[in-house]
């Protein structure tokens, strides 16, 4: 009964090699019926949940017993992707090409002005090739700047305003992500203005480079962040070093190649792995992690190849045929979370429970060594499918899902236990070093910051200088909260929590849905 409304019920790992067996047919039918009858879901949610169930009835692509065991134990996990995910988790289409050339498939001509450009983009988002959700909607300032003067300024603003409103209303999700910067532009400034005015949930990143981004533009972005908790302040110089120019930020804060994408996200629960490995951190670093690394790569490879070779996703796909996406730019994420608990586990095991991550130099150093070692094992396990990142899985810090208990997202210090601001930054910065696939530190400021955005920019500069890759800046009084990596309106969250309290047996649904079908959160709460 607990799982009555669970969208993806066939996540039972004991069945994962066979998929849906005759013995499970009755349960399957029941789940389909329950979904159809569920009065808390709107039609689209039901449709997506049913599609998820159908795909989840397939068996896992082949993998070794050892790999299967790691999944079963929860040390590795595939989040809600389902056993045989048949499309990439994320993609980052080159919309500039579409605006310049038009699209034969979508029957769109090259965009001639701002109205045509925004109409073409909205059309393209509708056909986004994964997740039924455009997790990347472009480097919008770059895309729209060539058209911004095609209309008088007040009209241009109106068009941008209705475009930005439609982006949200058609795709109400904190995982829909646009990039700005590093250069300033009229389109960039206007988009920040419009975003501040409309306060939609769409996610934004400013690729910030103090050498390139004019101070005034950066300060405008700080002002927005204190009001609406976005944009993110991405350390563009650090990203350039790892990626070169052709990278983008999509979904919550995920980096990938432009024209590329991410097949799958297989995440490692560092807490469980640490506990499994016993009391000795050296053993964890030298034996456990390398052993896991091998099977981690195997699972990533098997899931990616399924998409390429079995589902043949790159074939008969207009996104590929028309050159917006390119297979050799794709990769996959090896995500980690619960670094804090892993570091604390070894402190505790060695009788120094008070030596906590964030507070103790030894625990902090161990945390940094753990991320260093994960980087090394990813380097040591080539995955040919991950051509977009040199044939290796892309290191990612995964923010967790709300059903994760006793684990801290990504590589963060547990929320509420953060040390003093500078110490907080200096604790997390070294762990960001190798995590080019996405990671962030969340900083929240009080009201005095709004009167002095330059002070916040000082701290951003200092944090980037210290090695922080990405910062989420918010204010305690903002309408928005960054739950883990994505934004939620405070009011929506409260409504969601209230609903959970009333129907606690379905808390799992809310939790799972939030992460795996993130647009649903907004809709669940919006419609009631």
């Amino acid at each position: 009964m607990e799982k009555k409304t669970l969208a993806v019920p066939f996540h039972e790992f004991e069945n994962f090699t066979e998929g849906l067996t005759p013995g499970m047919a009755a349960m399957f039918k029941q789940s389909v019926a329950d979904t159809i009858h569920d009065r808390s879901l709107i039609y689209e949610q039901k449709r997506d949940a049913l599609a998820g169930m159908a795909a989840a009835a397939l068996p896992y692509p082949p993998m070794s017993d050892e790999a299967a065991e790691l999944l079963e134990s929860g040390i590795l996990c595939i989040l809600g992707e389902g056993p045989a995910h048949f499309y990439p988790r994320y993609a980052a289409p080159d919309y500039a090409r579409l605006l310049q050339n038009g699209s034969a498939f979508l029957e769109l001509k090259p965009a001639g002005d701002l109205m045509e450009a925004t109409a073409s983009l909205l059309t393209a988002y509708k056909y986004f090739p994964c997740e039924a959700l455009p997790v990347f909607i472009g480097r919008l300032d770059e895309l729209l700047e060539p058209y911004i003067d095609s209309l008088p300024e007040d009209l241009a603003r109106k068009v941008l305003r209705s475009f930005w409103l439609l982006v949200d209303r058609l795709n109400p999700s904190g995982f829909v992500h646009a990039d700005l910067g590093p250069a300033e532009s009229k389109a960039g400034r206007m988009l920040l203005e419009v975003d501040r005015e409309l306060q939609t949930i769409t996610n934004l990143t400013l690729r910030y480079d103090p050498q390139v981004t004019p101070r005034q533009f950066a300060l405008q972005a700080v002002g927005n962040a204190l009001e609406v908790t976005k944009p993110y302040f991405l350390n563009h110089p650090a990203m350039l070093k790892d990626w070169g120019e052709d990278y983008v930020i999509a979904s919550c804060y995920n980096a990938m190649r432009l024209r590329g994408g991410i097949y799958t996200l297989v995440r490692l629960n560092l807490k469980r792995a640490a506990e499994y490995s016993g009391d000795d951190p050296e053993r964890f670093l030298d034996e456990t992690l390398p052993r896991i690394g091998k099977y981690w790569a195997e699972i990533i490879e098997s899931r990616s190849r399924y998409i390429i070779e079995d589902a043949r996703w790159f074939e008969d796909n207009f996104w590929v045929d028309e050159g917006y996406l390119q297979q050799d730019k794709f990769s996959a994420y090896a995500g980690v979370f619960a670094l804090a608990e892993a570091a604390n586990h070894f402190s505790q095991a060695n009788g120094k429970a008070e030596a906590r991550y964030g507070w103790d130099a030894g625990a902090n150093a161990l945390a940094a060594r753990i991320t260093d070692r994960v980087h090394e094992i990813l380097e040591a396990n080539p995955i040919p499918a991950c051509a977009g990142t040199g044939g290796r899985a892309c290191f990612h810090a995964q923010v967790g899902i709300t059903s994760d208990l006793d684990t801290t997202p990504a590589v963060r210090v547990p929320s509420g236990q953060e040390p003093e601001l500078y110490q907080h930054i200096l604790t997390e910065a070294p762990t960001h070093r190798w995590i080019m696939g996405g990671v962030s530190t969340i900083l929240e400021f009080d009201q005095t910051a709004a009167a002095n955005p330059a002070a916040v920019l000082d701290i951003i500069d200092g944090a980037h200088h210290a090695g922080i890759r990405n910062l989420s800046i918010g204010s305690a009084t903002s309408e928005f909260v960054r739950v883990t990596g994505y934004l939620v309106r405070r009011a929506d969250l409260e409504a969601h929590q209230a609903e959970k309290a009333l129907r606690h047996s379905s808390a799992a649904l809310g939790a799972g849905v939030m992460e795996n079908n993130p647009n649903h959160l907004h809709r669940i709460t919006r419609k009631v």
Binding site: T448, A454, G462
Partner: protein, 282 residues
């Protein structure tokens, strides 16, 4: 050259309200005013090593050594018993720093701040030390330097500091002599001279005034302040600080805080006098 020492009450690694950007703030010990509403009365006087607080400290963080009170930072739990017991508005938690040592403490913060502000207490009582410290700052970093002063020392006193000083904030406790004396026990004239002088030198970042009921929370008082400043330069930034009873002692602890509306009205008065940059604290 003999080494100068600074008597430092404490260092705040991060402040958003002590000048432009994020700043580290050094609070010096010792003041030549006795403002009725002083928010840090324990910074007014230098310690006389009477030893009374040593007995009072519940943590054993204070000791007498060779006739001097010493403070053990690691034992202290910041309960403030000592400063409440001190009969002479001082604090035993004051550290003697050389300019080099103070810089060494702030250097690790460099990447996070725009500059260093010195507040108090009253900075003009330790100008040789502050000059030497700012020389360190300028030698080692790109940081800006700022002092917050009551201006009472008069223009001459600040002269040696100017080459290493970027900005000054001067407290103008009241715009008329009578209120100024009533509040601080000291005449207004030297303060005005300092404001004019620092402005002429291009170093005046802002003039600040605490808006306190019965003294500066009234229209006429603000008219006088604003006219004085507008007469010098309407572009002078005036910051109105709302009086808060927190930290004060004596009668001021009972005064109410001015309302938002009252603060806004006074800002309007100041603007009506022609001042173009009028701000207020939260």
């Amino acid at each position: 050259m003999e080494t100068t020492f600074g008597m430092i009450n404490h260092v705040l690694p991060r402040s958003f309200v002590d000048g432009p950007g994020n700043r580290a703030v050094v609070f010096v010990q010792g003041c030549n005013f006795h403002c009725l509403y002083c928010h840090n009365p324990f910074t007014i006087n230098f310690c006389s090593d009477c030893g009374i607080c040593v007995q009072a400290c519940p943590q054993g963080a204070l000791r007498m050594e060779n006739g001097r009170v010493t403070w053990d930072r690691n034992r202290c739990v910041e309960c403030d018993t000592c400063i409440k017991t001190c009969p002479s508005f001082s604090s035993p938690r004051v550290s003697r720093y050389t300019p080099q040592a103070l810089w060494a403490e702030l250097a690790p913060l460099q990447a996070f701040i725009s500059g260093v502000s010195i507040s108090g207490g009253e900075v003009s009582l330790q100008l040789p030390f502050i000059t030497a410290f700012f020389e360190q700052v300028k030698w080692h970093s790109r940081l800006t330097t700022l002092i917050e002063t009551n201006g009472y020392a008069g223009p001459q006193a600040y002269l040696p500091l100017l080459p290493v000083l970027d900005m000054a904030m001067v407290d103008l406790k009241a715009g008329d002599d009578q209120t100024h004396e009533r509040l601080t026990g000291k005449p207004l004239a030297p303060v005005l001279e300092t404001i004019q002088f620092l402005h002429a030198q291009g170093k005046l970042y802002a003039v600040q005034q605490v808006i306190a009921p019965g003294f500066t929370e009234d229209k006429d008082s603000m008219l006088q302040t604003a006219q004085l400043l507008a007469g010098i330069d309407p572009g002078i930034r005036l910051r109105l600080l709302r009086f808060r009873p927190h930290g004060t002692s004596g009668a001021a602890a009972e005064w109410p805080s001015p309302s938002d509306e009252s603060m806004e009205n006074l800002m309007d008065v100041a603007r009506a006098c022609g001042l173009t940059q009028v701000e207020r604290s939260l």
